[in-house]
Subunit: 126 residues, 2 copies
DNA sequence: CTCCTGATTCGATGGATGTCAATCTAGATA
DNA sequence: TATCTAGATTGACATCCATCGAATCAGGAG
């Protein structure tokens, strides 16, 4: 699976929140690549099913049945998520298990953080 | 332009974090529509320029110059962001001003929140 | 009203993307 | 060895999308 080179490499600490300062062209390109992976209902559901599954990972066999799609299509979507650095897959015996990469989710979540949310967090943490 | 009321309207309470429970097909469709609007480098930069601009709003004339793109293309991207409910625009005299809608950004940020981030917040707030 | 300017809409086009059927690979089992 | 199964890959096709030029719209200034 992606045993070798992570395609996106989880990158350097990317990007203060959108609302604080404008993104550079390079930052936007990298982030857009990740958001593009989330810009599909099937992939969003796949990601949520994987991330929320017991043990933090899910077998492809657990995922396919939830959709009215063929195996190759599911495989394609998983590949898109994998190449965006959002999930990672590992083969164990007969089955392939996928897990979400929290750092990627956090990167995207953080860049969308709004100031009142940040203010709330600051208040709570004081 | 969407003349509507300024602040928030707080949208339907969409979606506990991806990592907590799987999204329904309907939730995924709605969220994917919003992520799709962010799935482009130009639109991400436009959004960040608008959201981080002084006064929380930016004139189209301030945005166009930053890109090597024609006016119609910028207008197209702003329309996509507007129709996704991420920004809102208002004409004042000669110019059109856009502002980000924080509730939309928060919805997306929240759905991507990871458990260790939540745990961190809890630890800090105790 | 006429012109000018900022911005949107329209129409066309090349490239990206989601989907499937067919094929292929990796591992298990015999 | 051969065979079976879970997934991935390939190739093809239809649709979607980013971009542009041209036309159009909305206000302001003569």
């Amino acid at each position: 699976m992606s045993k070798q080179l992570p395609v996106v490499a989880a990158g350097p600490p990317c990007c203060s929140p959108l609302v604080r300062e404008p993104l550079t062209a390079e930052q936007s390109t990298g982030l857009a690549r990740m958001f593009k992976a989330l810009a599909d209902p099937v992939r969003l559901r796949l990601l949520s099913m994987i991330a929320s599954h017991d043990g933090g990972e899910a077998c492809v066999c657990d995922l396919t049945d939830a959709f009215d799609l063929t195996g190759p299509t599911i495989s394609h979507h998983l590949k898109v998520l994998r190449e965006a650095g959002i999930i990672d897959g590992e083969r164990r015996g007969t089955w392939v298990y996928y897990r979400a990469l929290p750092s990627a989710l956090r990167t995207l979540s953080d860049v969308l953080t709004t100031p009142d949310r940040a203010a709330r967090a600051v208040r709570h943490s004081s």
